[in-house]
């Protein structure tokens, strides 16, 4: 990057000089090709990239799961060595939590939240790109360990002191500690960005209690991330210092108490569970009303119970530690709090059923995935209540009963919801629907495979099969169900292959013209992302709609007649915006990816040689410098008319509404 002559001129920007050529560095201008993706700051492209990268890791995490299942297919399996098994189950958990479900939720959050609140983009577009690239590099960095001496082998929960250099001498746990640290920065950047976006950039009239439930749940999740991530950051720093600089935070010989790690990890780890599940709760709260053709039953109760789960989620972490030696008072207290977090969760389930009750249910693929979340998550929730009975948990913990429980929550709950979201918003993102009949095959095979895989784990768990054991004996009597489970895991694989076929076939069909282009509102949607064309135009909204209701778009389509009976008064596709405006948009930027690439270098240096960290640090500082001195816009964008309109205030045709509504906008 050459430093141009005009450098001092940036100082004049504030004074009103809008010359687009000011600034130390030029901004990229590419609107097509790979550069259009790598340097983009568009929340939609970033959302899609989060999704693509997360699905890649889902594939890899799935391969890890299949390796685990292959090993446990028979007693005394010989597919993996104990060492490989320990590394693979560690990375299966770490991958699925940090590289799959969190970024998939981030994909939806990035893509959908600005559309649901009527915004042109998120509050800090370049930071949004930074979050994505940091996440991408975190995933690569974590998995580099496979090529540099073996993966982490301490479990995703990484209990000290087993993760110290004495007991885990390879570099694997360093990659774990530093990789999660990097991934944490990505989530933190994203969280702050989305919190500011939701608080400040809602369309006029959209009070907090008119906000779509998906946006609400994402908002709660970002708050959870904001407060939970610092805790694991601290824990990981302690671990890294122990490993890299011989500190004694978890050195028992020097008086450390290893339970410190467990408390820190689970104070993060339990809110993390809600970070993983609440986005899906948000998704089905959107899809169930749309496909039941009824409003969400108890909007405010669902929102408040979501917030309550987020809040109560901070008071239950020690239920992961019922056998760790907390003492009876602590165990009893956390046992009780854990029981009562079931209340707001149960309320949600029953409200969703009440939403469908009396409706006119359309069994589209997103609807089927949503109903499967309601029923499968319930099973996971109820086994969760069984664990909250602390004495019972002393028999259940660290057995496959727990594995069954959290897979019903995270697969049956979170993933099913995310699949519902993919099928539901696919036309909004790409302009066409995924094939419904392939989608149904995907759904049914997945549902059967899922229950075959995780259902029997309840049984072997109660029979006493312990988790994280690389083998079991023929004398243990676990063979039958383990064989069923392994077969089930491969059924899931078949379901996912159907999904992949669906994606590729419909994409090719769309390009060939056999898969139809969808209009703005293909599902008879309720929220304002359906009031703009499919696929979303680059600038999202031609004009920012004024919001007067929950489910605002739906109320534009259906209104009561003289008898008070609701009638369809408008076709969603006709009243939708045309997407034909061409407002000014933020320019792409080189710096997010450059800045992000510095972090794995710094981390690698901490493991191998501090000089590499030095190079990384220089790159980091250089990228920050470039970032700060980047001109506000690119010279060729052709929008030198800042005085006339800013990025967000194209007025709706023949309407002064935005001025008016701005006064009521920011309040709750």
């Amino acid at each position: 990057m050459a430093i141009t002559e005009e450098r001092p001129e940036i100082l004049e920007l504030e004074s009103g000089d809008t010359s687009p050529s000011t600034g130390a560095f030029a901004r990229p201008t590419n609107a097509s090709g790979w550069r259009a993706w790598v340097f983009t700051v568009d929340h939609k492209k970033i959302g899609i990239m989060y999704g693509v990268v997360a699905m890649f890791w889902f594939l890899w995490g799935g391969v890890e799961a299949l390796l685990i299942r292959a090993q446990l297919f028979t007693p005394d399996g010989t597919v993996l060595t104990a060492e490989q098994y320990n590394q693979i189950f560690t990375m299966h958990g770490t991958t699925m939590v940090f590289l799959v479900i969190m970024p998939l939720a981030a994909a939806f959050a990035n893509y959908i939240v600005p559309l649901q609140i009527g915004a042109r983009d998120v509050a800090f577009p370049r930071m949004n790109a930074l979050g994505l690239w940091i996440f991408v590099f975190a995933g690569i960095f974590l998995n580099l360990s496979w090529f540099l001496g073996g993966g982490p082998d301490g479990g995703w929960f990484a209990y000290a002191p087993n993760t110290g250099v004495t007991y885990s001498p390879g570099a694997g746990m360093d990659f774990y500690a530093l990789g999660l640290q990097i991934a944490g920065i990505a989530s933190l950047v994203g969280a702050i960005n989305l919190i500011v976006t939701v608080l400040n950039m809602r369309a006029p009239g959209m009070t907090l209690l008119r906000m779509p439930v998906f946006t609400w749940m994402i908002f709660v999740v970002q708050l959870l991330l904001l407060f939970a991530l610092p805790v694991i950051t601290v824990a990981l720093i302690l671990l890294s210092f122990d490993r890299t600089f011989d500190a004694n935070f978890f050195n028992v010989a020097m008086g450390a108490d290893p339970l410190l790690w467990q408390h820190l990890f689970w104070i993060f780890g339990h809110p993390e569970v809600y970070i993983l599940i609440l986005p899906s709760f948000g998704i089905v709260s959107e899809t169930l009303p749309v496909f039941s053709r009824k409003p969400l039953f108890g909007y405010s109760v669902i929102v408040i119970s979501g917030a309550a789960i987020g809040f109560m989620g901070w008071g239950v972490w020690a239920h992961h530690m019922f056998v760790s030696g907390l003492g009876p008072v602590g165990v009893a207290a956390f046992s009780a709090t854990t029981m009562f977090i079931a209340v707001p969760t149960g309320v949600k389930i029953l409200n969703w059923i009440a939403t469908m009750w009396g409706g006119n249910l359309k069994f589209t693929v997103p609807m089927m995935f949503s109903i499967s979340l309601v029923s499968m998550f319930t099973i996971g929730g109820l086994s969760g209540v069984m664990h909250s009975v602390a004495p019972a948990d002393t028999q259940q913990t660290d057995t496959y009963f727990i594995v069954a429980h959290f897979h019903y929550v995270l697969f049956g709950g979170a993933l099913m919801g995310l699949f519902a979201g993919m099928y539901y918003w696919w036309p909004k993102a790409f302009g066409y629907k995924l094939n419904e009949s392939l989608g149904k095959w995907h759904f049914w095979i997945l549902l059967v495979g899922f229950n075959m895989t995780f259902g029997p784990m309840h049984i072997v768990g109660l029979q006493g099969m312990a988790r994280r054991h690389s083998r079991y004996g023929p004398e243990d009597g676990f063979d039958f169900w383990n064989a069923v489970v392994t077969i089930g895991a491969f059924v899931i694989l078949i379901g996912m292959i159907v999904f992949a076929v669906n994606i590729v076939r419909t994409w090719l069909g769309y390009k060939a013209g056999t898969v139809p282009q969808e209009p703005a509102d293909p599902w008879d949607g309720r929220t304002i992302e359906w009031a703009i064309p499919c696929p979303t135009p680059e600038h999202n909204f031609d004009y920012v709609p004024v919001i007067t209701d929950v489910d605002d778009f739906w109320h534009k389509k259906y209104q009561p007649d003289e008898n008070g009976k609701l009638r369809k008064v408008a076709d969603g596709n006709e009243i939708a915006q045309k997407g034909d405006q061409n407002p000014h948009l933020p320019s792409p930027s080189y710096w997010p990816i450059v800045l992000a690439s510095a972090l794995p270098l710094i981390a690698l240096g901490l493991i191998y040689n501090l000089w590499i960290s030095g190079i990384g640090l220089l790159l980091l500082l250089g990228a920050m410098y470039g970032w700060s001195l980047e001109p506000a816009t690119d010279p060729d964008a052709g929008h030198g008319d800042h005085e006339e309109h800013g990025p967000d205030d194209v007025d709706p045709p023949g309407d002064e509404g935005s001025e008016l509504a701005e006064e009521e906008a920011p309040v709750v």
Binding site: V252, G255, G346, L350, N351, M356, S375, L382, R468
Partner: protein
């Protein structure tokens, strides 16, 4: 009367019969399905929390069943509701697309009801749970046994005369008298482990730097199986244990034998094995009375401990209780024992180069030397008071 009924329903009954036979065929499948499921699921092995024996395990089992029944009831309720919704409220061909279902935005009363009912259920569950937590955490007036976990085996120490020093140190098999609530002081010498003999009680973690209290008891003599359930590194899957519950007389006899130190053998092969032991094994292993140089905390292992072998042959298993020490006919399992000494890391994953687990003697000891060593080990007490059935 019955004849009349017969005749009057004959016409329908054929129709019914056809219907029934399909139903019956389907119904016949149900017990078949259940049967295979039950047989398969009841084929439980040695570790079996579903068959509690000890008082604590029974208490836990009762409260677990209660919570399980409650969860099942709620689960069935939700499942039925979902099925009704799917069947009753699905879109049918011919439904007027412009006709909206009744738009209900909520119902405070209904929502309050399904908030409060779970609250009451959970309050009930909490009332049952909390006293049980305290019940299970107390100490009994029985004897106390020290339990120490280390990679990847368990050590049990008994202070018989209560003078503050351990008089019996054994490995992998905790021996207790029948009917007594034995107190355990659970510790760890390296990473976190978890002590679990499910038929006697739930789990308790062994955390380095801490002493955790727990109790076990059994009303009947027998051998009960357990394993480490907190991930403790490479060979976590191979860290099992057994509880051997003896009648009072057997227990006293066992204690007497354990308190007797070993002596130097006289037979030539055993003497040779004894000498080999002195050359190769005593930097880690202790045999009371003859080789006591491997002090606790020896530098060859990160945990500082290797199993005390004084009365090896009174145990039923070795190497983290993953190998049987005796064949079913009561003879010593010489083959596995010899293979273990020859190449332990090949038999059970370990990292001897990182001082985790026993080293290999494949390069050090000849076949004859291994035979002598096994012959010597076989002189160390035995047979066990109770054999696995």
């Amino acid at each position: 009367m019955s004849a009349r009924i017969h005749t009057s329903t004959e016409g329908e009954s054929r129709e019914m019969h056809k219907h029934q036979s399909v139903m019956r065929r389907l119904l016949r499948l149900v017990p078949l399905l259940f049967g295979t499921t039950l047989i398969a699921s009841c084929a439980t092995g040695r570790i079996d929390p579903t068959d509690p024996v000890g008082e604590n395990a029974k208490q836990i089992d009762g409260i677990m069943r209660l919570s399980g029944y409650m969860a099942t009831a709620v689960g069935i309720f939700v499942a039925v509701a979902v099925v009704i919704v799917i069947v009753k409220f699905r879109e049918r061909p011919g439904d007027d697309p412009n006709e909206l279902p009744k738009q209900i935005h909520g119902n405070r009363k209904a929502e309050l009801t399904w908030t409060l009912i779970p609250v009451f259920m959970l309050v009930f569950l909490a009332i049952v749970t909390i006293p049980t937590v305290f019940d299970l955490s107390g100490k009994s007036d029985g004897r106390t046994i020290k339990v120490e976990g280390q990679q990847w085996w368990w050590q049990f120490s008994y202070d018989v005369d209560q003078d503050g020093t351990d008089d019996i140190v054994t490995a992998n098999e905790i021996v207790i008298p029948v009917g007594e609530e034995v107190n355990l002081d659970i510790r760890s010498n390296d990473v976190i482990h978890s002590f679990w003999i499910p038929q006697l009680n739930g789990k308790k973690d062994a955390v380095p730097g801490r002493v955790h209290h727990w109790r076990i008891s059994s009303p009947v003599p027998g051998i009960f199986y357990g394993e480490c359930t907190e991930f403790c590194g490479l060979s976590h899957a191979n860290m099992q244990m057994r509880a051997v519950v003896l009648t009072d007389e057997d227990y006293d006899e066992w204690v007497r034998e354990q308190l007797t130190p070993a002596t130097i053998p006289e037979a030539a092969a055993a003497k040779s094995g004894y000498d080999l032991f002195g050359r190769h094994c005593i930097s880690c292993h202790v045999i009371n009375g003859v080789y006591e140089s491997a002090a606790d905390g020896n530098a060859n292992l990160t945990s500082g401990y290797a199993p005390n072998l004084t009365h090896l042959m009174t145990r039923t298993s070795f190497a983290g209780a993953i190998f049987e020490l005796y064949e079913e006919d009561g003879s010593v399992n010489i083959a596995d024992l010899k293979e273990w000494i020859r190449n332990a890391p090949g038999q059970k994953p370990a990292r001897p180069e990182n001082r985790q687990g026993m080293i290999s003697f494949a390069e050090t000891l000849s076949d004859n030397e291994l035979d002598d060593l096994v012959t010597y080990l076989m002189t160390l007490g035995g047979p066990p008071p109770l054999m696995p059935s």
